[in-house]
Every structure is written in structure tokens, then in C-alpha cells.
Amino acid sequence: MITPSQTVGPFFAHGLPYAKDWEMVPEGHPDAITITGRVSDGAGEPVPDALLELWTGETGTRGVLTRAGEGVSGFGRCATASDGTYRFRTARPAGPYVSLLVFARGVLRAVLTRIYLEDVPDPLLDGLEPERRATLLAQRDGDAYRFDVRLQGEGETVFLDY
């Protein structure tokens, strides 16, 4: 039998964040894009104590925990700021989407979603009603993407079963 999940709680800041955890590529990397956004709750209030993890599918050569190289890492981690915002600098992925896990106080098991950087025909997207599909699409402005996570209520992000 598997081990049940428990909340990450409010006090992970001395344990989980690490130096350059959100910088999956160095500044100035030719393939760099940024993904930023805000995590909010069912009342529309910011979630200031969430931890987000981004995964692109490739470990890469930069180092997952040490960020030593000039190359690319496929894993990033970012704790939200007091206004619920987060940021990642990553490399443009090969496919249309990246994977995102959201942990927080009050979230007993992390919620899993996808950030689609391109609106393309896709088995997951195509199975959703338009308004729900829209919750998985990042808004693009050049190399900057915006993706908000709404845990509950109006515009609730589509979360995946895992």
C-alpha cells in the first residue's frame, strides 16, 4: 500500500527552496523564456505560501540542485511571494507544454497541471470545454509567458488525475 500524502504546511521555507531554484537556465541563455503568474484561492486571494515545481521532461546538464553549469535544467522550484506570485526562467521546451505541481498549506496532496505554451491540437486540451481549456493556456508576450493558478472557484485551473 502506498504512503499517503500530507500537506507541505506553512514552514517549508528553510527546507525546500535552494539557490537559483527558479533559474533553470542562466540569464541571457539564447533559449530562455520566463513563466510568471499568481496563485490564488477560492476567494480570489493570493496564496503566499505555495511551492511550485516545474518539470520539462529532461534533466539537462545545468544541475538540478546546484545550478553549476551554463546549460539547461529541466526542473525548477519556486516558493510564492507574499502577493502569491511566482517566476521561472526556463528553456523553451520541445513540446507544447511543461508540467507543474503546486504544493501549499491547506493542500493535502499537491495539485498537478500543465502549462501549455502553444495552443495546439492536443488530446488533453481537445477534451475540455473552451473555458476550461483556456485555464491551461499561458498568455504570451514575446519570450515572457503568464500563467495564473486558481485553486478553486471562478476560472478554476484544470488539474490532472495522478
Partner: protein, 222 residues
């Protein structure tokens, strides 16, 4: 259902944070990125990071313990070279976190965070201090049972697990809505470490064993 339902109203913070709609099943193919997970290099984690009692100039106050166990998949196979991260309160029940306002002493010799990679048998081992119980404001006279937070990766992003390890025989279990959010008593029991005389080291530290079993990957379900 092994995992707790995200809406567990006795744990008040879930009420506005639990998604209201059921999660969507997704089909997998060989390119599905959720089927993979970061691979960690041994050079990325220092050997001393698994000893939470040796991160400062002096020894922390409290009951020194060894916590060890294996990370396994549901079929019992070890998950090797995966990252295990832990964090916890000190012996007085206080976190080294600026927002923890519990009026218990901080320990200048204890931060309470560690990490290691599992070995070839999926085994991890930490040396630490037994954490204290602490109050929280969920309800009147609410106290968290002593626990160590665990974060484990596995081989697929869908196996990613964050959980809490509790200590056997804690009288606070029935009063704790976070632990009780796991509805199945047998599943709840899996959150409790076992006191282990074989892990206990004479004249030095009590030992606890806590295995972490990760779920199947979607690919395996097909």
C-alpha cells in the same frame, strides 16, 4: 482512496484551497513528460546534509535520533538515487522560520532541514533531533503531533510525494485533522514510523524506521 481528499474541512485551510472540480484523467504516450522525473547527481548532495545535528558549531538540544527507511514502488522495488528531503521543528516545537510565532525557544544549533539520495537498495538515513509538538490556530487548543516533513521524488513526476512522518504512540493523533484527513486507518498507520532496535545505536541515538511507498506510474496502468 489512500490519499486524503483535498477538501477536508476539519483542516480549515483546505476550505478555500481545495479544487472544487474533479481532476481530469490524461492519456499517456512515450513523450508524456509526467512519466519522467529529474535525475540527481551524487555530487549535488553533500554527505553531511543528511546529518541535521552537525550543521552548526555546536550540538542541538534534544533527543538525538536516527531515521532510516527505503523508498519503494508499489511492487516493492527500490527506487535508487532519488532525492529525499526532510524538514522539521526543533525539540521545543519551533521552526527556524520567520513566520513561526510559537513562543518556544529557537536553537542556534538546529536549522532542521536535510537531504540525501537513496542508495542502491532505495535506502535513506538521517540523523536528527526528535521534533516537539507545537500549537497551531486551526481550532481551540489545536496541537500538531510531532512530525518530520518528507519530500520524495521517484522515477515519474506523477510519483512525486510530500508527506509527514509521525512517531509511534503519540496521544495527539486522534485530535489532529491533518493526520486524520487520511480516512483509511491502515493508510494512516503508514504515516507512523516504527521504533527499531536494530537502527538504535548503543550509547548514542534511538532509531526509527519509515518506508515510503510511491504510487504506480500511469504508464504501468495501461
Amino acid at each position: 482512496m489512500i490519499h486524503p481528499p483535498n477538501l477536508s474541512p476539519d483542516y480549515r485551510s483546505t476550505v478555500l484551497r481545495a479544487p472544487s472540480r474533479p481532476p481530469i484523467a490524461f492519456k499517456t504516450d512515450p513523450d508524456t513528460i509526467e512519466l519522467t522525473s529529474p535525475v540527481f547527481g551524487h555530487a549535488e548532495v553533500g554527505a553531511l546534509e543528511a546529518d541535521l545535528t552537525r550543521q552548526h558549531a555546536g550540538e542541538p538540544i534534544g533527543e538525538r535520533i536516527v531515521v532510516t527507511g527505503r523508498v519503494l514502488d508499489e511492487t516493492g522495488h527500490p527506487i535508487r538515487n532519488t532525492l529525499v528531503e526532510v524538514w522539521q521543528a526543533n525539540a521545543a516545537g519551533r521552526y527556524a522560520h520567520e513566520l513561526d510565532q510559537h513562543p518556544a525557544p529557537l536553537d542556534p544549533n538546529f536549522t532542521g532541514a536535510g537531504r540525501c539520495l537513496t542508495d542502491g537498495e532505495g535506502r535513506y538515513r538521517f540523523v536528527t533531533i526528535k521534533p516537539g509538538a507545537y500549537p497551531w490556530r486551526n481550532h481551540h487548543n489545536a496541537w500538531r503531533p510531532a512530525h518530520i516533513h518528507f519530500s520524495v521524488f521517484g522515477t515519474a513526476f506523477t510519483q512525486r510525494l510530500v508527506t509527514q512522518m509521525y512517531f509511534p504512540g503519540d496521544p495527539l493523533f486522534p485530535f489532529d485533522p491533518i493526520m486524520q484527513s487520511v480516512r483509511d486507518p491502515a493508510a494512516r498507520e503508514r504515516l507512523v514510523a516504527a521504533f527499531d532496535m536494530d537502527t538504535t545505536e548503543p550509547e548514542w541515538a534511538l532509531g526509527y524506521r519509515f518506508d515510503v511507498v510511491l504510487g504506480r506510474t500511469p504508464m504501468e496502468d495501461e
